[in-house]
Structures are given as structure tokens and as C-alpha cells.
Symmetry: C2
Subunit: 252 residues, 2 copies
Amino acid sequence: LRILTLARDLRRRKSREKQALFVAEGVRALEELLASSLQIRGALVAPQLEGAQRGAELAASLASRGVEVLKVTEAEFRSAAETESPQGVLAIAEIPVRSLDELANRDNIRLLVLDAVQDPGNVGTILRTAAALDVDATIALPGTVDLWNAKVVRAAMGSSFRHWTFHASVGELGDFLHGGGIELWGADMSGEPVANLSPPGKLALAVGNEGAGLSSSLRERVDRLVSLPISGKVESLNVAVATGILLYQLRK
Amino acid sequence: LRILTLARDLRRRKSREKQALFVAEGVRALEELLASSLQIRGALVAPQLEGAQRGAELAASLASRGVEVLKVTEAEFRSAAETESPQGVLAIAEIPVRSLDELANRDNIRLLVLDAVQDPGNVGTILRTAAALDVDATIALPGTVDLWNAKVVRAAMGSSFRHWTFHASVGELGDFLHGGGIELWGADMSGEPVANLSPPGKLALAVGNEGAGLSSSLRERVDRLVSLPISGKVESLNVAVATGILLYQLRK
């Protein structure tokens, strides 16, 4: 039952940070987790996994990898799962240890900065997009949902296990960018249209909260504000869509 | 109680189609609905609206517009609402009658075609994106979620009330595009990279189901397949993000 207790405990951000562990839920996420280099500590399996597509193969893969698998009831599973997980499978894995400093020496670099982006589904979709568009790393500033939240991990569809992510303060980010000679551009409706700009070799793009935009502390540090001109009749784009278009426009 | 019965009934697609009515839920959607030219038939209000942000103003606006407002209990409201609607307000409005033929005479035209795109949240986000990027209309082919589904309307954040949308068969779409001299491009991983292409003046872009891609019947009719090159490590982009990037690249 240690795994069940641990999984329940890991629904709290503080517990994930303290133990450097996170939970991945669902067949798709676990397949991606098994294909990654991350260390798996254990798994919970509920009866409904037998009926899920590719469920039997997944159970066999977990067993063949020597992962400790605990069989629980549907109710016990629900008590540990964060997302709607009709497939009845989750795993506990180690949050990978990575260092921003390894990135700074590259000639070309693209970073994404999330400034108080709160919706876990949007943030997961953004991580998936950043990985697909060859962004080197995503850095979450205070106010952003924990990137190891189970809903974020699920929406990222495996990208959390390969794409590099960090949490940092505005000060830490500023010091790192300054030391690496990396420009910081911020997305804002008042900025220059992105289509008119040529990005520098080393660039970090910051996107803000859908309602409030960039925080004032970040706004003070940006080298340039950039925008996507949109129809006057529409208030804004979804933050994941806007981030995708900007990252594509500013790709290496 | 007529409005309550009607709202419950409109959760079925057949009922929406037969009565040419739909349901919009939540404060934001209703504000947008009131600002649009659509006809409102009635509204349901639950006690929790009083505690919602801008709830009191919205109730006053509905009353001043002469909309029939029925006060219901929280349980009755839940029995009619499709989405998680903690704000306790929904309205029934008329699906606007529009004709594709009005669009065909324009010199420059951008259309979006949804080919069996099923997730209501993604489809709503796509409508919001299409409206923001000045797409003239979105056409849903069979297999796509009903564009007047309450979850789609909610995710579209008001764009459903202004952006033109249609449901059509592949045959109807083909005839319309042919008659109007409009090229049809389809999004597919095997297509030409979109960054290398200049779009024609009259263009329809088709995007398919996230899992299955474009249907074979549509694939037979496209003039060209186009792609967004992504990292080999990632299987695909989210369909709303991919659609946003493609529409931006191919804008007028």
C-alpha cells in the first residue's frame, strides 16, 4: 500500500517538490514514460485497465521492466488519480534533474518562459508544442501551475519526459539570460507584429496569463514586446494557440 | 418552466437542429451573446449567479433587453447545463441562418474545413482562432462535433456568435469550392512544408481528426497536402495549435 499512499500524497505540489517525484496517468502517458529515460518508482493498476485499449500490453511492459505494480480497487484508484482516468493506470516517477547552465553555451537557443499561466490543460499543450517546435527548454515563473501537476503531464502527452523544464524566479531567469547573452521577448498586444521581425540566435519568448498578460516584474526586463495582430472583433487568442504561432514564427 | 424543459431538450443535437436553437452557458458567453445580433429566446438563472463576477450586471442586462428569465434551483440548473457552469446562467438563442453562397463572390477568401474533429474544447478554441485570424467561415464535415454543442460554444468564448459556421457533406463542400474557384489544401504530415508555399487568393484549409488525420473521401478532393515540420521525437501537435499555426501562415 506504500505506492497508493505515495500517489495520494503526490497530488500536493509541496510533496512533489520535496520528494522530487511526480505521477503520470493513463495508458498513453505511461507508454511514453516507459519509452523515456526517466526512473519509474512504482505503478497502480485498477481492474478497468484490462478493458482499456493497449491496457494488457502496458501491464506486461511494466512487469517486464521490473516495476513494482500494486493492484487496487476502482475506488482506491480514484482516490489517488488527479485526472479523469477511466483507463485505471498511473505511475510514480522521478522528476529529472537538469541544469539550465548546460543550455547557455549553445550558439542557437530557443527558450519559452511561462509567466503565471495557470490552466493545466493549456500548459500541457504548450509543453507538447514547445517540444514539437524544437524549443530547448521551458521555464515556469511563479504563479504558473506546477509543470509536474498530473493534469499538465497528461495534456503534454509524453513531452514532459523529454522536453526540459524548470521553475525559476524572475531574478534567477534574468541572471541566466544575462549571463548567456540571451534576448528576452515578451508577447503583448501592444508589441511589434512578429511577422516583421527577425529573431536573434539566442532568444527566450515569454507569454503571460490569458487575462492579465505579462507581470509587471517581467515586463521591466523584456528587450522587446511582440504581438500577433488579430481581428478587432476578437479579444484574444487561446494562450496555447498564440504561443504555438509565436514559437513557429520565431523558430531557429 | 417551458424554458427549463427546452434547455434540457437542447442538449441533444437532433433537437438543436430541428428547432434551430442552441444554448450558451456562463457569464462571459452571455455577455458576448448580448453584444451580438443573435436573437435570445430566454434564460435560466440559478442563485449562484448573484455571487459570480459581473453576475448582477448580467442579470440586469438580460432584464433590460426584455429577455424572459426563469429563476431555478441549483439542481434544476445542473439538469439543463452541459458544461461545468458554476456561474449559474445560460441562455437559449437562435442559430443564425447564413448562406455559403454569399462568400463565394469575394476576391480573397479563407475557409477552414473541420474533417471529423471531435473534441468540443479543441473545436471551440479553433472557432475562436479562426475568428481572430479573419477566416471567413468554418465548415464542419460529418464526424465533427456539432458546432452548436454547448461545450463548443463555451470554448469559442463568443466567436460562435460572429464567425460564420456551417455543417456540410463532403459532396456539398466540393461543389461549393468548385463553383467558387476555391482551392482546397489539406493538413497532413506527408504534405509540403507550409513555410515554402504562397497561398492562392481563394483558399480552404482542411484539418482532420487528431488520431486518424484526413478522411479518405476528403483526401481524394484536396488540391495539395501541406505540413508543419516538427521534431521527430514528438508524434503530433494539438489540433487547435496546428490549425492556428497553419491559418496564420496562410492568412490573407
